[in-house]
C-alpha cells in the first residue's frame, strides 16, 4: 500500500506534460516481443511520414504534428494502458496495429469520441459505418483479403476451384479466426474443401501443422500469420517442398523479414498487399533528404521501401489527409478528435492526389462515406523473388467479392449493434 502511494506521487509528477497546440497522432507500436519484426518498420514508417510533414511543410495546414510512441509488445493489457496514457494528450486518431487491442479499444474509443483507424486489420464488420461510428478500416479488411486470395486461386485454376482443397493455416486468435467465416461462405460458392489448422501464438512451433499439411497434400495453403510465425511457416513450407506459388499469405504475412530467413526456399511465395513496395516513388527522395539524412528517422533508415514501412507511411498519409480534410471542413487548423472523425468520413484520396503527394499508384483510391468505413476493398497479389530479394506485384488491384462480403458485414455488425443497443446512423 505504501509502495502504491509513493508511485502515485511519482507518477503524478511525471504525468504533468505540457499541452501545446499541435496535432497529436499517438503510435501504439511494438518494437519488442515476437511480433516486433512487423511492428518496428510499420512504426518507423508512421513516424517518419509525420516527421517529413513537419520538416518539409511545417506540419499539416501550419500545425506541427507530434507522434508520441507507446510500446504495447502486441499485448492487450499494455495496449489499454497505452491508450489511457495517451488519450488525454489531445489524441486525434488511434492505429493500434493489433486486432486484439482493436477489440479492446472499440468500446473505449466510442465512449471517448476518438476515431480509430484499423487499416486492413481489426474488426472486419467495422466497415459498416452505420453501426461503427468511430471505427474505420479502409482501404480493405480481412474478408477482402480472403476473397482476393480465393479469386487469385480461381485465376490460377482457370476459373474453377471445385474439388480443390484449401488449408487455412492461422494464428489461433481473433486475428487468425477472422477470415474463417468468409472462406466458408466462399467454399459454398466455389465448391472447394476447407481445412482449418490453427497455430498457437506466437507460432514458433509449427512442425505438427506442417506434417498435417504434408499428409493432406492440399492444393493451396492460405496463411494468416504475423511476426515470428511468418518466418517459421515459410521455412517449414520450404522444408516439406510445398509449391511456394500455391502458398498465399494475407497482407500481414508478406514482408521482407518474413521471407529473408528462408533464403531461396521462399522464392515464389505470394501474399496480398494494398500498398506499393520499394522506394521508386518520389516521396522517398524527400524522406531521404528531410528525415533520414537529417538524422531524424525513427529507425536506422534501412527499412525504407520495405512492405511494412511503406504500409506505416501509407497509414500516416491517410491520417494526415483526413486531418487536412477536417481542417478544410471546419476552417480551423487546430482540429479536435470529433472533427478528425468527420474528416475521415469525408476522406477522398484520388489517384491524382496521391501523385501530388509523391506516391503515384501507391495504394488504391480511397473514398469513405458515412455508410462505408471500409473503403474500396481492393488488394493485389505480390510474389517474392528470392534472387533479387524483392516483392513483385503480379496482379493489378483486385476487387473482392462484394456480394458475399457485404452480406456478412451487415450480418456481423447487426449482431454487434443488437448486443450493444446501437441505433443505425446515416439515415
Amino acid at each position: 500500500m505504501k509502495l502504491k502511494l509513493v508511485t502515485l506521487v511519482l507518477g503524478a509528477v511525471m504525468a504533468g506534460a505540457p499541452a501545446m497546440a499541435e496535432l497529436v497522432f499517438p503510435s501504439l507500436s511494438y518494437r519488442t516481443g515476437p511480433f516486433a519484426a512487423g511492428g518496428t518498420p510499420f512504426a518507423d514508417g508512421y513516424a517518419d511520414y509525420f516527421t517529413l510533414l513537419n520538416e518539409r511543410d511545417g506540419g499539416i495546414g501550419g500545425e506541427m504534428t507530434r507522434v508520441p510512441e507507446c510500446e504495447t509488445a502486441y499485448n492487450t493489457e499494455k495496449g489499454v494502458e497505452c491508450y489511457e496514457a495517451t488519450k488525454g494528450d489531445g489524441a486525434l486518431i488511434y492505429q493500434p496495429l493489433s486486432t486484439g487491442i482493436t477489440y479492446q479499444l472499440i468500446p473505449k474509443v466510442t465512449a471517448d469520441g476518438i476515431p480509430m483507424h484499423t487499416m486492413g486489420y481489426g474488426r472486419t464488420s467495422a466497415a459498416n459505418g452505420k453501426i461503427f461510428e468511430w471505427v474505420f478500416n479502409y482501404p480493405g479488411n480481412y474478408w477482402d483479403s480472403a476473397s482476393i486470395m480465393v479469386k487469385h486461386a480461381l485465376d490460377m485454376e482457370g476459373g474453377d476451384l471445385s474439388g480443390k482443397n484449401i488449408v487455412l493455416l492461422y494464428h489461433n486468435s481473433a486475428y487468425g479466426k477472422e477470415p474463417i467465416r468468409t472462406l466458408e461462405e466462399l467454399s459454398k460458392k466455389h465448391g472447394y474443401g476447407l481445412t482449418l489448422i490453427p497455430v498457437d501464438s506466437p507460432g514458433q512451433e509449427q512442425k505438427s501443422q506442417w506434417l498435417q499439411i504434408r499428409r493432406e497434400k492440399p492444393d493451396y495453403v492460405f496463411f494468416w500469420g504475423w511476426g515470428v510465425m511468418n518466418q517459421v511457416a515459410i521455412q517449414e513450407a520450404g522444408n516439406i517442398r510445398f509449391p511456394m506459388d500455391h502458398f498465399i499469405g494475407v497482407w500481414w504475412s508478406g514482408s521482407e523479414p518474413d521471407v529473408l530467413p528462408a533464403g531461396d526456399a521462399a522464392d515464389g511465395y505470394k501474399s496480398t498487399n494494398f500498398t506499393g513496395t520499394g522506394t521508386d516513388y518520389p516521396i522517398f527522395d524527400d524522406i531521404q533528404k528531410y528525415v533520414v539524412d537529417a538524422g531524424k528517422a525513427a529507425g536506422d533508415g534501412s527499412s525504407l521501401g520495405q512492405v511494412q514501412y511503406n504500409r506505416g507511411m501509407y497509414a500516416a498519409m491517410l491520417a494526415a489527409e483526413a486531418a487536412l480534410k477536417a481542417q478544410e471542413m471546419y476552417g480551423v487548423t487546430e482540429i479536435n478528435a470529433a472533427q478528425m472523425r468527420d474528416g475521415m468520413e469525408a476522406l477522398d484520396v484520388t489517384a491524382a492526389r496521391m501523385a501530388e503527394l509523391g506516391m503515384p499508384g501507391f495504394g488504391p483510391e480511397v473514398h469513405v462515406s458515412c455508410e462505408n468505413h471500409g473503403g474500396p476493398g481492393q488488394g493485389l497479389i505480390q510474389q517474392w523473388n528470392a534472387t533479387d530479394k524483392k516483392w513483385v506485384a503480379i496482379t493489378d488491384y483486385i476487387e473482392s467479392d462484394r456480394d458475399v462480403i457485404d452480406a456478412l458485414i451487415v450480418e456481423d455488425s447487426a449482431a454487434y449493434a443488437k448486443e450493444n443497443n446501437i441505433e443505425e446512423r446515416c439515415k
Binding site: M1, L3, K4, T7, L8, L10, G11, M14, A15, A17, S29, R31, T32, A36, T40, E69, C70, E71, A73, N75, T76, E77, V80, E81, E84, A85, K87, G88, T99, G100, Y103, Q104, P107, K108, T110, A111, R123, N172, S173, A174, K177, E178, I180, R181, P198, D200, S201, D412, E419, N420
Partner: protein, 358 residues
C-alpha cells in the same frame, strides 16, 4: 517507538487474537482502508484506474488465491491462468444467459464454478507431490485454454472467438462496458479484494488454515495427528480456485472488457501470479498485496520514468524494463528469500526498537 505493545492491554481472547493486535498497526490499517474507500475514488481518473489500480486489485485477489494453495497448503500450481479463464468464461456465459441477474452475483458464481473445476484438477494432488503436481496443474492450464478456444459454445459462437462483456450495472451505475466511470470499476474491484482478503485471512488462521499448514509442513505427520489430506487438499484447491475465479471474472468483465483466451490467460499469466506470490511472500496475505503491487506497478513506473521522464526510445526502455525487473527480483530474493512480507516484518521489528536497539 512504533509498533509497541506497551500500554496496549487486551482484556479478552477476541482482542488478543485479532488480525492487527498492535494498536498502531490497527490504526494504520484503518487509515489505508479509509484512503482506499473514501479518498481514492474521488481523485482517480481513467489512466490510474486502468493502468495501475484495476490490475493491482485484481492480481492481488488472484495472488491471495494462489497463496492459499501454494503458500499455505504447499501445493505448487501452474494452472492459475487456466483457472482465471474458467472464471472469465463462466462470468461471460452467466452474464449473457441471465442478463437480469446482478453482475456481482455472477462474479461470485463464477468463483464457485472455478472452485468446482479446481477441485477436479486438484484430485491428482492426493497422489502426486511437488514438481510432479506442478506438471499436472500445467496440464490443466493448457487443457483449459485449449477447450475455451476449441468449443464455440463458450464464446457464444462469435466469429472472432473473443468474448466481450456487455454493459451491466450495480445500483444503477454501470460497472462493465465502455461507459463505466473509473471510480465505479475501482470500487467493485476494491470491495471484492477487501472481502477476499478478510475471508482469506480468517480462513487461514482458523482450523482450515491450520490443517493446510500442517499438510504443507509435513503431510504424513499431519495425517497421523488426524488431518484428512483429502479434505484439506481439496478444500485448499476449492478456496484457492474460488478467489482465482473471481479475479478472472473481474479481469475480463471490469478490467479488459474483451478477452481472447490464449493471450489473456496463457501460461505467462500463471507464472506472473506465481512470481507475485513468491516475491510477496509465501503464506502471507500481506505478501499477496505486496507481490501484486511490485509486479504491476514497477513496469508502469519504469516505463513512465524512462520514456515519459527521460524521453528514451520505447524499445530500449521496454528491454531495459525486463532487465531491471529481473535484476530486482533476483536481488530481492537473494536479500530476503521469504519475500517482501518478511522484509516488512523485519522492518516492523526494527521500528519497534528504534531508536534504542540495545
Amino acid at each position: 517507538m512504533f509498533y509497541r505493545e506497551a500500554g496496549d492491554f487486551k482484556t479478552s481472547y477476541a482482542e488478543d487474537s485479532q488480525t492487527f493486535p498492535i494498536k498502531f498497526d490497527r490504526y494504520r490499517y484503518y487509515v489505508v482502508l479509509l484512503i482506499a474507500f473514501a479518498v481514492v475514488p474521488f481523485i482517480i481518473n481513467d489512466y490510474w484506474v486502468n493502468a495501475v489500480f484495476l490490475p493491482f486489485l485484481i492480481y492481488a485477489i488472484a495472488a491471495i488465491g494462489l497463496n492459499i494453495l501454494t503458500g499455505y497448503c504447499g501445493q505448487v500450481s501452474l494452472g492459475t491462468g487456466g483457472f482465471m479463464a474458467v472464471g472469465a468464461y463462466a462470468c461471460y456465459k452467466l452474464m449473457t444467459s441471465f442478463p437480469e441477474v446482478s453482475i456481482l452475483i455472477h462474479v461470485i458464481l463464477a468463483g464457485g464454478i472455478t472452485a468446482a473445476v479446481g477441485v477436479v484438477f486438484g484430485l491428482p494432488s492426493l497422489r502426486i507431490k511437488g514438481f510432479y503436481l506442478a506438471v499436472a496443474t500445467l496440464a490443466a492450464q493448457f487443457f483449459l485454454v485449449w477447450i475455451f478456444n476449441r468449443v464455440p459454445w463458450f464464446y457464444n459462437y462469435s466469429a472472432s472467438g473473443q468474448i466481450s462483456a456487455p454493459e451491466r450495472t450495480v445500483l444503477g451505475v454501470s460497472v462493465t462496458g465502455a461507459e463505466t466511470a473509473p471510480w465505479a470499476a475501482y470500487m467493485v474491484c476494491l470491495v471484492f479484494l477487501t472481502l477476499s482478503a478478510i475471508l482469506a485471512r480468517n480462513l487461514t488462521r482458523g482450523m482450515a488454515g491450520r490443517k493446510w499448514m500442517a499438510i504443507r509442513d509435513m503431510d504424513i505427520a499431519a495425517e497421523i495427528i488426524g488431518v484428512d489430506p483429502l479434505k484439506a487438499k481439496l478444500s485448499a484447491f476449492a478456496v484457492s480456485s474460488f478467489f482465482i475465479g473471481i479475479a478472472g471474472a473481474l479481469f475480463f468483465a471490469v478490467y479488459l472488457g474483451a478477452v481472447e483466451v490464449g493471450e489473456a490467460f496463457g501460461i505467462t499469466k500463471s507464472f506472473l501470479v506465481l512470481f507475485m506470490v513468491i516475491i510477496g511472500g509465501l503464506g502471507s496475505i500481506f505478501g499477496s498485496f505486496a507481490g501484486a503491487a511490485f509486479l504491476v506497478l514497477l513496469p508502469v513506473l519504469l516505463k513512465n520514468l524512462l520514456v515519459g521522464g527521460l524521453g528514451w526510445p520505447t524499445d530500449l526502455a521496454a528491454h531495459l524494463e525486463f532487465v531491471i525487473v529481473g535484476a530486482l527480483i533476483i536481488a530481492f530474493l537473494v536479500a530476503e528469500p521469504h519475500g517482501l512480507a518478511q522484509l516488512w516484518r523485519v522492518a516492523k521489528e526494527k521500528l519497534r526498537l528504534w531508536p534504542f536497539p540495545h
